[in-house]
């Protein structure tokens, strides 16, 4: 009984790592640009397909493909912000929502046209099946690597945001874009850099999502919902809170699934709503 409970909790924590990866980019874009990107989940899916094409097309290891895609994802994020999202930011709350909603529809239908509706999975090689024994528990190496990747990425982003000049620029523009303009900073340039970083986190999330689960052109909205709940649960602006939010969701889903499989997803949403009711600012709000 105790072993089953511990196993459920551990599995919840491990899936929480993947959820945190989904949520990191959204947390950054909400925190810096103050805009919800409705197409965030679809960006993850489109990059998964890109990784799939590169890995299978050139016969590359998936992590080598990821290394190739990271700079492309940065440039993609930068260009998207500078040439599309920037045009609607700051005008009205609804405009960025509508634009990214439109993008989501375009991405989903474009992927459907290009790749078909069949579920796909990224080739993980031996990593997919490897199991390690920790304190007597048999744990998949892939979920452990995913959690480790989330922790490393959060640590790196935290250092970037709070210990570097670029991070200071991003936080300054996030604090007060008007004041940033007044002293000669270019908020649009900084937003572009921030969205480029979001693009890189999306690429990492896309890689681990594709390695850990099936994906198809319609997977985006589900990813968005998980990312959004993780961000809100963790507290806006808090990167480590995003991991906590992902873990809370993962554990809730795990416990719900133990009670009844049909409850798995529902349990996550119920816990999200419960935490929101008691602590609307999230678990570890930075602002």
């Amino acid at each position: 009984m105790v072993a089953a409970i511990v196993n459920t909790l551990v599995q919840g924590v491990l899936i929480g790592g993947l959820y945190a990866l989904f949520a990191l980019g959204l947390s950054l874009s909400v925190g810096v640009m103050r805009a919800v990107n409705v197409a965030h989940g679809d960006f993850i899916v489109v990059v998964s397909y890109l990784l799939l094409s590169i890995a299978t097309g050139f016969g590359l290891n998936i992590f080598l493909a990821l290394a190739l895609v990271l700079p492309v994802a940065f440039l993609g994020g930068f260009a998207l912000q500078r040439y599309l999202l920037q045009r609607v930011s700051g005008k009205a709350v609804l405009a960025p929502l509508l634009v990214t909603f439109g993008l989501a529809i375009i991405i989903q239908n474009g992927l459907l046209e290009g790749y078909g509706a069949d579920p796909r999975v990224l080739p993980g090689g031996a990593l997919e099946t490897k199991v390690v024994s920790i304190f007597g528990m048999q744990l998949g190496l892939m979920p452990l690597v995913t959690l480790a990747a989330a922790i490393v990425l959060i640590f790196a982003l935290d250092r970037l945001l709070y210990k570097s000049q670029v991070g200071a620029l991003i936080r300054a523009v996030s604090d007060d874009p008007g004041a940033a303009s007044l002293i000669g900073l270019s908020p649009n340039q900084v937003y572009g850099i921030a969205m480029g970083i979001v693009g890189m986190t999306v690429a990492v999330a896309a890689c681990f999502m594709g390695l850990r689960s099936n994906f198809d052109p319609a997977s985006g909205p589900g990813n968005l919902l998980i990312a959004f709940e993780s961000v809100v649960l963790g507290g806006l602006g808090s990167l480590w809170g995003t991991l906590a939010g992902g873990v809370v969701l993962g554990v809730a889903q795990g416990v719900g699934g133990q009670i009844d499989f049909a409850w798995q997803t529902l349990a996550g949403h119920i816990v999200f709503l419960a935490v929101l009711a008691v602590r609307p600012q999230g678990l570890f709000p930075r602002y």
Binding site: Q165, A168, L169, R171, A172, D175, D176, G178, A179, A180, S181, L182, I183, G184, L185, S186, Y287
Partner: protein, 234 residues
């Protein structure tokens, strides 16, 4: 080469259809302190915003050392050597003192004072360099705003209401720094509602009333009554 000079010629500033500044001209030379005084809403801050490229719509010519800077964006204007200490300080509240100051150096010309020089001028900021700007007192925040502008290595420094909301002793301390800044060859434009203090600090002044220059010249050339009449309009 002629003496460095910031020149504003026939500048008007608009907010939509509303004209906040009407055909204003002024100059400030290197190593000179010039005051722009006027009541609330006279157009002083709008004029400064126009100089640093922040006005929504602006007509007229703004030049530095003869070169037109009026069509440049704010980052280029700051790099050319015009820095603003904005009204209300406009610090980044969640950034530390040191991060706020470093941004000034980053956006500026990078040839003048360094962080250590600003800490020499404001020792208290060195003690509080790791504190978020939001926890500082008003006077300390103003020191950060002024230090940030100085780190941009300006040729011309625009100060918008640096005394606003501060205790008289703190204001006196800040004003005591201005001659030292001027003596480095920096031209200073002081925008203030406080007539007495700003006129004592400056060699020339411009008084604004309802968006227009109502009086200008040396503070010694006019009696108090004339200046007050131009300030309030009567």
């Amino acid at each position: 080469m002629s003496e460095p000079r910031l020149t504003v010629e026939g500048v008007s500033v608009y907010y939509g259809p509303f004209r906040a500044v009407h055909d204003v001209s002024l100059t400030v030379g290197a190593g000179e302190i010039v005051s722009v005084i006027g009541a609330n809403g006279a157009g002083k801050s709008s004029l400064l915003k126009a100089i640093v490229g922040q006005a929504d719509r602006c007509e007229g010519r703004i030049a530095m050392n003869g070169a037109d800077i009026g069509r440049m964006g704010t980052p280029a204007i700051v790099r050319a050597g015009v820095a603003l200490v904005p009204e209300g300080r406009r610090l980044f509240p969640n950034l530390t003192v040191e991060e706020n100051l470093s941004l000034g150096w980053r956006v500026g010309r990078r040839g003048g004072p360094r962080l250590a020089d600003v800490y020499d001028i404001f020792p208290v900021l060195k003690e509080r360099r790791s504190s978020p700007a939001r926890v500082l007192s008003g006077g300390q925040q103003q020191m950060v705003a002024l230090g940030r502008a100085l780190l941009a290595d300006p040729r011309f420094l625009l100060c918008d209401e640096i005394s606003l909301g501060l205790a008289p002793t703190v204001i006196a301390d800040l004003y005591a720094l201005l001659p030292g800044i001027r003596d480095r060859g920096i031209g200073i434009v002081l925008v203030e509602q406080d007539i007495g203090r700003s006129l004592r600090a400056s060699t020339r002044f411009y008084c604004m009333l309802e968006g227009r220059i109502s009086l200008s010249g040396s503070p010694d050339a006019f009696d108090r009554e004339t200046i007050t009449r131009s300030y309030f309009g009567s």
